[in-house]
């Protein structure tokens, strides 16, 4: 097997004195999709940010393509690893196309401007997420769902090997959630390594082949979905009894009635 795109070794992450994970080790390989699951406030986003190199972990290290993440300059990291944040901010006017072009930043030199090729990449990304016709719209006039798709377009334009998504289905209705996650399938088939924070265990079960469960207090479990999608583990994960409903081709998990 080839070298993993992103690996965490013995990673310990704390936030505000609380332990997110203790001695976490995992490897994200090309073509894999990981889901990070856990209750609100358990530290899913924090862990994702640590994996992206935005915060230093308390202990352990993160390797990207075999080299320690913190030793690589930020711009070079951004060519190999991208993160879709939970929310986007747009205080000042800007067009959809200008925003998508931001993804080219790490690939351009200090005095360099976007060229024809960058423009073609950005336009293709916008088309892929269904925003091709809105390229001249002011981002402040977009709906929540359109913003989410634009954030994905920025990531597609950035074109990193490791893709981290923080609640990619936020603000999206059912149909758009499915489309968003099917995009991640295309990315996986293109050889990207993907990790995403999800709230919906059923979406995770359907679209991710590997799971990372964060139980709180630093406890965690990581592995293939076939092993981890068990009612006892999920009941412990969410602190609420979870029932498994047999359904083809994949089972469905529902909260047990109070």
């Amino acid at each position: 097997m080839s070298e993993p795109l992103l690996s965490a070794r013995d990673l310990t992450v704390e936030i505000g004195g609380r332990l997110v994970c203790r001695a976490l080790s995992l490897e994200v390989a090309s073509g894999e999709r990981w889901a990070v699951l856990g209750t609100n406030g358990v530290g899913k986003t924090t862990l994702l940010h640590v994996l992206a190199g935005l915060h230093r972990p308390t202990g352990g290290e993160i390797l990207i393509g075999g080299s320690p993440l913190h030793a690589i300059p930020r711009r070079h990291v951004a060519r190999r690893l991208g993160l879709m944040p939970q929310d986007s901010r747009d205080t000042f006017p800007s067009t959809v196309l200008e925003t998508a072009l931001c993804g080219r930043h790490p690939h351009l030199g200090l005095w360099e401007n976007e060229g024809e090729r960058d423009l073609a990449i950005a336009l293709a990304a916008l088309k892929a997420v269904g925003l091709g016709t809105l390229q001249h719209r002011d981002v402040r006039t977009l709906s929540g769902g359109e913003r989410r798709r634009l954030a994905l377009a920025v990531l597609l334009t950035q074109d990193p090997a490791v893709v981290l998504l923080d609640e990619p289905t936020n603000h999206l209705d059912l149909h758009q959630q499915v489309r968003m996650l099917e995009h991640t399938g295309e990315l996986a088939r293109a050889g990207k390594g993907i990790a995403m924070v999800l709230h919906d265990v059923n979406l995770a079960a359907r679209y991710c082949d590997r799971l990372l469960l964060l139980f709180g207090d630093g406890e965690w479990a990581a592995g293939p979905r076939e092993v981890l999608l068990e009612t006892e583990l999920l009941t412990r994960l969410y602190g609420h009894p979870i029932l498994k409903v047999a359904h083809q081709p994949w089972p469905v998990f529902v909260p047990a009635p109070g």
């Binding site: 060519r79 205080t91 800007s94 931001c102 401007n113 976007e114």
Partner: protein, 322 residues
């Protein structure tokens, strides 16, 4: 980068404003007289008026306007807040206390400028030191610290004004509303403006990302913390120079960057140089009107920037909302 005719147009407007400033005054000159004075041997009366009186003042006005507009654009990006202006972090308050203190002691000229610069630099370090604290250096904390420090300076300004002798009050009020009459040499301001633009233009693309949020900027490869430090010191430094040269002139730094955004979008690669040119042009026009409207009496230039700028900006804002 969007193709836009805004930059050449702004350049044209800046040159027009300078021509207007050189021609207008108690001794009106035609454009050919102005040109003759600029390139000639400097013997004629027109040449002396142009070269020794009007040109230094016009260039200082241009430098101050450019500095304020650039500092405003940088502050808005740093704080991620459209209401930010060069003075929001208390720089002008500190400069005012220094300048009024110097006036109170009967000093003028260089001592006045020295007092203003000292006050501005002191505020810069004070706000930076307080807002930095440990760990987090968030924009909100920086903004709040600056606003509170500015309020403190405001109280000191009122105190100085209330104990100042009658004779000195007028000079003080003029300084507070912006005054370019005392400007001697424009070199200092123009050099600061040139360096400011040269250092911030390569950062323009990073600024485009920073205004989309620190997280987004960081994930796209911007080293956010060093960038914010640099922006803080650049914007504060440019403001300090502007205030030292022209007193506290409001409005330019807040409104010019927004006007450019409404006309040509938010790409900082266009926004920064265009703001400099339009800010400079606005202040040159305003200062020329300030010294000619009710000549021989001079008006504070801050009054004119607002009088010219407010209707202009409101018009742009309405147009943008169509």
């Amino acid at each position: 980068m969007r193709r836009s005719p805004i930059l050449p147009l702004a350049l044209l407007l800046a040159l027009t404003s300078l021509a207007f400033a050189l021609a207008a005054g108690s001794m009106p000159l035609t454009l050919s007289e102005v040109w003759g004075g600029l390139v000639g041997d400097g013997e004629s009366l027109a040449a002396q008026v142009v070269n020794e009186l009007r040109l230094p003042r016009a260039l200082t006005a241009f430098a101050v306007g450019g500095l304020l507009a650039l500092a405003g654009a940088l502050m808005q990006a740093l704080l991620g807040n459209p209401l930010a202006d060069p003075y929001v972090l208390g720089i002008s308050g500190g400069a005012a206390v220094g300048a009024l203190g110097a006036l109170l002691l009967g000093a003028g000229g260089a001592a006045l400028q020295g007092g203003a610069l000292t006050g501005a630099l002191l505020t810069m370090l004070l706000v930076f030191g307080l807002a930095r604290g440990e760990g987090a250096w968030s924009s909100t904390r920086l903004l709040l610290t600056g606003v509170v420090v500015a309020a403190g300076w405001g109280a000191l300004i009122s105190f100085i004004l209330s104990i100042a002798p009658e004779a000195g009050l007028r000079g003080m009020l003029f300084w507070l509303m912006g005054d370019l009459a005392g400007s001697a040499t424009p070199t200092y301001g123009l050099v600061a403006l040139g360096f400011g633009l040269l250092f911030t233009l390569p950062l323009a693309r990073s600024l485009n990302l920073l205004v989309r949020g620190e997280l987004q900027a960081a994930t796209l490869g911007v080293a956010v913390r060093p960038l914010k430090y640099l922006l803080y010191f650049a914007a504060s430094g440019l403001t300090a120079v502007a205030v030292t040269l022209g007193g506290s002139i409001g409005f330019v730094g807040l409104v010019v960057p927004h006007a450019v955004r409404l006309l040509a979008g938010s790409d900082h690669r266009l926004l920064l140089p265009t703001s400099v040119l339009l800010g400079g042009a606005l202040l040159v026009f305003a200062d020329t009107l300030a010294r000619t409207l009710i000549a021989p009496q001079q008006l504070p230039v801050g009054v004119l920037t607002a009088l010219v700028g407010v209707p202009l900006f409101l018009f742009l804002l309405q147009r943008g909302h169509r």
